[in-house]
Amino acid sequence: MSRSTILWSAVLAAAAVVIPFYLDASWLQDGLFAMAAAIGAIGLNLLTGATGQLSMGHAFFLAVGAFGYVYFASEPQEGGAHALGGLGLPTPLAAVLAVLLAGVAGGLFSPIAARLKGAYLGIATLALIFIGQFAMTNATPVTGGHNGRPVPPMELFGFVFADTPEAPLVIAGVPFGALERLWFLGAILLLGAGLFARGVLRGRPGRAMNTIRDHEIAAGVMGVPVSRYRAGVFVLSSMYGGLAGVLIALVFQQTVPDYFGLLLALAYLAMIIIGGLGSVAGAVIGAVFVSMLPRLLTRYSDALPLIVQPGQEGVGAAEAAQILYGLAVVVVVLFLPGGLLGLITQLRLRIGNRLPAAAAPKHSLTPTPETRN
């Protein structure tokens, strides 16, 4: 680790600790959504960025994680219009099982994931979204149907990640509600997920994945069991999706099938493109960008030109955010090979003047000079 990496890590860690003491709940909530998105995007980047397998069904695995957690953790409920099932397991166990369940779901799809490539795989995974929506709205006892169901708060060693009005937690004069508490949980999960993915990418599996992306036949001839690897990465990526789903469920406090639709799946693709394909940092940057953009525009819509308040004629904040995020995808691919991460790296290099600006970032989108056929 270079000195600047250590410095940066320290700064980020300090920021992560201090933030909940200053920002109000709604910012924390958006921050938490961004963290969850980052975990999910890291998983997708392992699959799409590093291994070259296009997936448009990532949202499905988030759903499996979210509803898996809710089902495992909830006590069964009789009565009401619908009876709701549940296993009533301890919540940490439920979370782990939910992540594993997402992995199993990925494993079930892997016969397809191992066989198909490119656009075919992309659209085949699209089916997951529709099948998932269908299953979620029909499996009412598990998912609560169309309206979803409430999420039991996480409880770790007697510490509850929820608002506890009866026993308020106050630290340094700041009341610690559900979101403040979850913030730290989210930050730790993201850190762990990021480090793990980095280890995978830089290690033996990562090289095998990259070679499968670049030259599948060569990978096989070099001893990489290609189908098993493709399936394995699919499962791993699903588990990341599942973990993101669990975190989102905890932040939401209510999970609803509608949320895990096509738009969400596309947003994850946008994240890894915007941030930078194939790397952990790229996924995180993209996730933060895509999840915070609408929020920032809404918050500052009155200060921004061309954006109108809700209900007036013109481009509203929500629309502006949509347009900007669509544009960002296009602009990044056209002008920023390597995504925002590539841009940051280049800027740092240029400022540090350590290498000429032309040095291509490792995972750039631009083709490298032709190799001979």
Binding site: A81, H146, N147, G173, P175, V256, P310, G316, A318
Partner: protein
């Protein structure tokens, strides 16, 4: 930090001796609107928002409430649950009540927090699972009551009798399923056979469904879907020679359909059932609302959202006024004040009982009929009434 408040309780008494809480200051009361301006219910959301802002403006001109001016805090969730949750986290701590929330999935997603916050909330959805929560006030009838009254109407005026088959086309989700509960009940009571067809909001072409209804030989069709699907259903049925009466839920119709090719079919034998009076009705309050609305929003069409939003705003403001009398403008105080009224809304054409919350506030439904020339595109076909069937019906709650 700014956030370091010590975490104490948040109710306090302001200078005038009125207990206040979040959303109320010495001169201002903030009311949240969580609406859909960019999603599938954008036109409805826009009418609701406009109408409520009109009401608040009128109230402010008349001196406000409790010496305070009303302020609307609008957030557009675009019919996206996550955005709704985010919006609630953002505006929840700053408002005293939610004068409308579009979409029952959105209300459900924030239901726990609404209850924890004791936030008076008027959903613009009429599914039965929204009942049973003290701060949540579903206005007038629920979809099942409307359908029961609708079946009753079919039996009394359209010659449907025991042994006949009737169809019901409904959306998946709360709306359709609530309505289906009602139709199932009524069909059983009257000895009718119900032919169900469930669709999704993304389905556009009802040909297959019509074929299925035709095959079953239905004598009338209940409709609990969106306006587009209604138009397709009615158009295809008629064109295919299935000339039966249609009875829709209040969300199944929109005046925008009249200029489309489905218009004539809708005008022929389609009715919709609604707990709130159509804006074209003779009630003086409605007439005034229509005039004021036209004056303020000359370019916007008038639809059912206008009257629904306006009366919902009135419910919230009346609750605030009552709470002011009780010198308690905290959220809990507002909810209690609201729940103390048992005959609200005569002037809007429907008497509602707010003291119970595990039953619909009213069992009376209007039968309305599309009309090209009428304001809001429909006229009252039959005045509000409770059917005997509806009186005996046990509403499923939650």
């Amino acid at each position: 930090s700014e956030k370091a408040t010590g975490g104490g309780g948040d109710a306090a008494a302001s200078g005038d001796g009125v207990k206040v809480g979040p959303g109320v200051t010495a001169d201002k009361i903030s009311i949240g609107l969580m609406t859909d301006l960019t999603g599938p219910y954008a036109s409805f959301g826009k009418s609701l928002t406009n109408a409520q802002q009109l009401y608040f403006e009128q109230t402010n001109q008349a001196g406000g409430v409790c010496g305070r001016q009303l302020e609307a805090v609008v957030r557009d969730h675009g019919y996206d649950v996550q955005k709704a949750v985010s919006a609630y986290t953002e505006i929840g701590p700053k408002v005293v009540a939610l004068a409308h929330v579009v979409g029952s999935p959105m209300v459900n997603a924030i239901k726990q927090r609404i209850e924890a916050d004791q936030m008076l909330t008027i959903p613009q959805a009429w599914a039965t699972n929204l009942l049973g929560s003290k701060p949540i006030q579903v206005t007038a009838t629920t979809y099942d009551i409307d359908m029961i009254n609708g079946v009753d109407f079919l039996a009394k005026e359209k010659g449907i009798k025991s042994g006949d088959k009737i169809g019901h086309l409904y959306f998946e989700g709360d709306y359709g399923e609530s309505a289906l509960n009602g139709s199932k009940y009524a069909a059983e009571k009257l000895g009718l056979e119900l032919v169900e067809q469930k669709i999704k909001a993304t389905d556009q072409d009802m040909t297959a469904q019509v074929t299925a209804f035709k095959k079953a030989g239905v004598k009338a069709i209940l409709v609990s879907v969106g306006p587009r699907q209604t138009a397709s259903l009615v158009g295809v049925s008629l064109a295919g020679g299935m000339d039966v009466p249609f009875v829709g839920s209040n969300s199944a119709y929109s005046p925008q359909l009249l200029p489309t090719p489905a218009g004539p079919a809708l005008l022929k034998d389609f009715y919709y059932i609604t707990g709130g009076a159509p804006i074209s009705s003779d009630l003086p309050a409605m007439k005034k609302l229509a005039e004021d609305y036209k004056a303020k929003y000359p370019n916007d069409a008038i639809d059912s959202g206008v009257s629904a939003g306006y009366s919902a705003a009135a419910i919230v403001v009346d609750a605030l006024k009552k709470a002011c009398e009780n010198k308690d403008l905290t959220r809990a105080g507002v909810v209690n004040a609201h729940r103390s009224q048992n005959a609200w809304g005569q002037e809007y054409g429907g008497v509602m009982d707010f003291t119970v919350f595990d039953k619909p506030a009213s069992l009376r439904s209007y039968v309305a009929k599309p009309d090209k020339d009428a304001l809001g595109g429909s006229v009252t076909f039959k005045d509000a009434a409770v059917s005997d069937l509806a009186k005996e019906y046990q509403v499923p709650v939650g």
